[in-house]
């Protein structure tokens, strides 16, 4: 049964990823990106990692993409922004970068290390303790400092964003509508 669901999620992920790029309206693109995240969540479920699946949906589909949509709607972007590049130039750049990326991906995926290092925990332990506990112990044990530093960096970003938006509001004297 797993292969059927894998195919389902794979087709969904690839098709909606393509649609993200091919759609003209930014809102539709964003909705397709949500679908990509949902199908990635499906992959995590198939890999017996329900915690990661739920977090994937909560964080990416539920929080980040909602903010994306919020901003797109607030700015009322109807079409993609004209950045002054001619369409021919854009096309050449696009193809060149695309081929480069495909070549990179091909080379990388040939190596066996492309899947990343194996975790220390055997599958039996993960099944016995539960996925959530194992992740929690690793995150707040071995990786405590990186975790804390990341959260501090995020906090700095939040404070910075507020400072920047406050300063702009003061200089123009216009308050942003909520």
């Amino acid at each position: 049964m797993t292969p059927i669901f894998f195919l389902l999620f794979a087709v969904m992920a690839v098709v909606s990823a393509l649609m993200v790029v091919l759609q003209k309206s930014p809102v539709t693109s964003a909705v397709y990106l949500v679908l990509v995240f949902l199908s990635l969540g499906g992959f995590f479920v198939l890999l017996h990692a329900p915690f990661l699946a739920a977090v994937q949906v909560v964080v990416y589909a539920g929080a980040i993409m909602v903010l994306f949509l919020f901003v797109i709607m607030l700015l009322n972007l109807q079409r993609d922004v004209d950045d002054g590049l001619h369409h021919a130039a854009r096309r050449v750049f696009g193809w060149a970068l695309g081929i480069l990326l495909a070549a990179q991906a091909f080379l990388l995926l040939r190596g066996s290390w492309a899947l990343g290092p194996r975790g220390k925990e055997p599958a039996a332990l993960v099944h016995a303790q539960g996925n959530t506990q194992v992740i929690g112990v690793r995150l707040f044990g071995d990786y405590l400092w990186p975790f804390e530093i990341t959260s501090l960096v995020l906090l700095v970003a939040v404070v910075g964003a507020i400072v920047l938006s406050l300063r702009r509001g003061r200089s123009t004297g216009v308050e942003d509508a909520p």
Binding site: M1, S25, V27, T28, V31, V34, G41, P50, F51, A53, A54, V55, V57, V58, A61, G62, A63, V66, L67, L69, F70, M73, L74, G130, N131, T132, P178
Partner: protein
């Protein structure tokens, strides 16, 4: 009797899950008309009028008449609407509520799937529920709708945070994200007479959860997204016929789902005295959820709507610090109990 339908175990499991899901969805859809009737009766009671009392006994068939009316109305789609998203939004209003119901333990023997991250599934679905309103507001290409959609996304993001933090106490006390484990942990008594429900261990968490629960379902006093006085009903201003009905049903389905979560988290789930647990559990669970529903209805018709700045102040300056402090105190208490602080 052969319970596997002659299928390999994997497939018969799938079939059984589908059957359970259908029973659950059918049950909830069957309850929705009763809730709509209850809403109108409560509204009538609060406003000193009889409420619906013409169609059927006690007006019980009124929702049926309403649904028939909605079905036969013309389904209008604005000319400049985004067709796909306009169609998708009402569907999205219904689906998350039903997904949440599949992880709720309704009785000791009846849970569709015991995922070990059931609580996170609930949060995932409630964060997806934002899309229904946001996209509905945008797709109709109406400025009132857009304002309603934007308000709603701001409101739901703000209150989701407080909601997530308000249940951390329960997770700390249980040590599990599975709703089945959380309900099982509430068995027994405190001091011999109080049931061991988490509402008595986590009163602050429970209050914060109830407030955010009202906000997440966009019910009064937090119904700013559809404030009819200023936004002419906000996000569903362009919707008619069955698409409007889907939003209507989605609101009540979400109320049921979130009350089920609240019951499982704080009110002891299926636990209750006197009745045998196998079927008595379901009775207790339904009873507790119904009481929460009535609470929902009375709140809507008694409290005035908050202003937008009051809403944001309550979410970010009151509920967030309160739930954070609650999580901290609970964490210290649990650490002391387990003897980790020495």
């Amino acid at each position: 009797m052969d319970w596997t339908f002659g299928l390999p175990p994997e497939w018969s499991w799938l079939v059984w899950t589908l059957i359970k899901t259908l029973v659950l969805i059918g049950g909830v859809l069957g309850v929705l008309p009763i809730m709509i009737w209850g809403e109108r009766k409560v509204a009538g009671h609060v406003q000193f009028r009889p409420g619906p009392n013409r169609v059927g006994p006690f007006g019980l068939l009124q929702p049926l008449a309403d649904v028939l009316k909605l079905v036969f109305k013309e389904d209008v789609m604005p000319h400049s609407a985004n067709r796909v998203l306009f169609f998708l939004a009402p569907v999205l209003a219904l689906v998350p509520a039903f997904v949440v119901l599949t992880v709720i333990p309704i009785g000791p023997q009846f849970v569709v799937t015991d995922v070990n991250v059931g609580l996170l599934v609930f949060f995932a679905m409630s964060s997806l529920g934002v899309y229904a309103i946001t996209l509905a507001g945008w797709a109709g290409n109406n400025k009132y709708g857009l304002m309603g959609g934007l308000r709603s996304s701001a409101q739901m993001i703000s209150y989701e945070l407080a909601m997530g933090l308000s249940v951390i106490g329960v997770i700390l006390l249980t040590g599990s994200l599975s709703l089945v484990d959380i309900v099982k942990a509430q068995d027994g008594r405190i001091l011999g007479f109080l049931p061991r429900w988490f509402v008595f261990y986590q009163p602050v968490g429970f209050l914060a959860f109830v407030v955010t629960m009202l906000a997440e379902t966009n019910r009064a006093p937090f119904d700013l997204p559809e404030a009819e006085g200023e936004l002419v009903a906000g996000y569903h201003v362009e919707y008619s016929s069955m698409k409007f009905a889907a939003f209507f049903m989605g609101e009540y389905a979400n109320m049921i789902a979130i009350s089920c979560v609240c019951t499982a988290l704080f009110l002891g789930g299926w636990h209750g005295p006197w009745l045998p647990p196998v079927w008595g559990g379901i009775v207790w669970f339904v009873l507790k959820v119904s009481i929460l529903q009535v609470f929902f209805l009375f709140v809507r018709w008694t409290l005035p709507r908050l202003r937008y700045d009051q809403l944001m102040n309550l979410g970010w300056k009151v509920l967030l610090p309160l739930t954070l402090a609650n999580a901290l105190v609970t964490a210290v208490a649990v650490a002391l109990r387990e003897g980790w602080l020495r």
